[in-house]
């Protein structure tokens, strides 16, 4: 399936609804927004519900990677990567099913830690910080991109 435009509605009682339209491939975002607004305007003229927003959706835009998961992979274990910024702000990534990355073990169940030096020795530190810098916080502020420390988190079923 190609790109989609999803339009969100809400009625007087607070119930929400959505409409999905499929759009052609290969347009610019500006062209997609123009089509979305043409659909939005015609739909709005025909409805007494309120439009609350929309999404341009590109499912499967990013290709998966070849190969099976490792036999020991388990998404119930997560690696929490903490980042810090210059203003003292902190943010984190949650990576499911972490690979063996040279954790320090202090013998406690939640005591495994991934140190900055260990990540650097694996040649992953620069890539990680560069990738974090490509993102922002959900509210638009810059994402703190200096890796601080990592820790494992286990979800017990």
């Amino acid at each position: 399936m190609g790109p989609a435009f999803r339009l969100y509605w809400r009625d007087y009682s607070g119930k929400s609804s959505q409409q999905t339209f499929w759009l052609p491939d290969g347009l610019t975002i500006a062209a997609y927004v123009a089509r979305a607004n043409a659909l939005r305007n015609a739909a709005k003229a025909l409805s007494n519900a309120v439009i609350t927003g929309g999404d341009l959706i590109f499912d499967n835009l990013v290709a998966g990677l070849a190969g099976p998961p490792a036999a020991e992979s388990d998404i119930r274990t997560n690696l929490i990567l903490f980042f810090k910024g210059g203003a003292g702000d902190v943010a984190s990534w949650r990576v499911p099913s972490p690979a063996a990355l040279g954790y320090d073990t202090d013998g406690e169940w939640r005591g495994t830690r991934l140190q900055r030096a260990a990540l650097d020795a694996l040649g992953l530190l620069d890539d990680l910080e560069a990738a974090a810098a490509l993102t922002v916080q959900p509210w638009g502020d810059p994402f703190p991109s200096t890796f601080s420390i990592g820790g494992l988190d286990f979800t017990v079923p």
Binding site: D11, A36, A71
Partner: protein, 160 residues
């Protein structure tokens, strides 16, 4: 009074473990990432970084550009999103169809003692023209026109 791409994009990366269970990771891109190509470049860099950190397999990723609605609108007391205007369209390949379900249509388009809506109604015709001009089937084929009955359907309400 429109939708605008002012909020940036959201990237969702999906990983799967050996038990077949999936888990998403979510990232946010700044508003300056305003093309599909820019989003894809950043998403691929993040995907490759995550791949080095996880022993699950990355099954793919999706990008959503959030469109902000700048018209707050007025909540009409009789509005009800479970009441739908059903408009079926046919694609260039007649086996492909698209069925629009518009929430809470105006009461003024209803006809007495019938669920059927007149396709010649100016607002319905304008809506159909906008869908044909701007949307496609889920296989990317152009839409030709309305094909079939246009009617009001109320979800969660038994028919008489």
């Amino acid at each position: 009074m429109a939708l605008a791409n002012t909020l940036g994009a959201t990237f969702t990366l999906t990983l799967r473990d050996n038990n077949g269970k999936k888990s998403p990771m979510r990232f946010y891109f700044p508003a300056a990432v305003n093309t599909v190509a820019l989003a894809l470049t950043r998403a691929n860099a993040i995907r490759d970084t995550v791949a080095a950190l996880s022993n699950a397999v990355i099954v793919g990723g999706s990008v959503n550009f959030t469109l902000n609605e700048d018209d707050g609108g007025t909540y009409v007391p009789e509005s009800e999103v479970e009441r739908k205007l059903i408009v079926p369209f046919v694609g260039a390949n007649v086996r492909q169809r698209f069925v629009s379900e518009l929430p809470s249509p105006l009461f003024s388009i209803e006809q007495a003692l019938s669920d059927t809506v007149d396709q010649a109604n100016a607002l319905v015709a304008a809506y159909a023209a906008a869908v044909v001009a701007n949307a496609v089937t889920n296989r990317g084929e152009a839409l030709l026109n309305i094909s079939g009955e246009t009617y009001i359907d109320h979800r969660n309400r038994e028919k008489a």
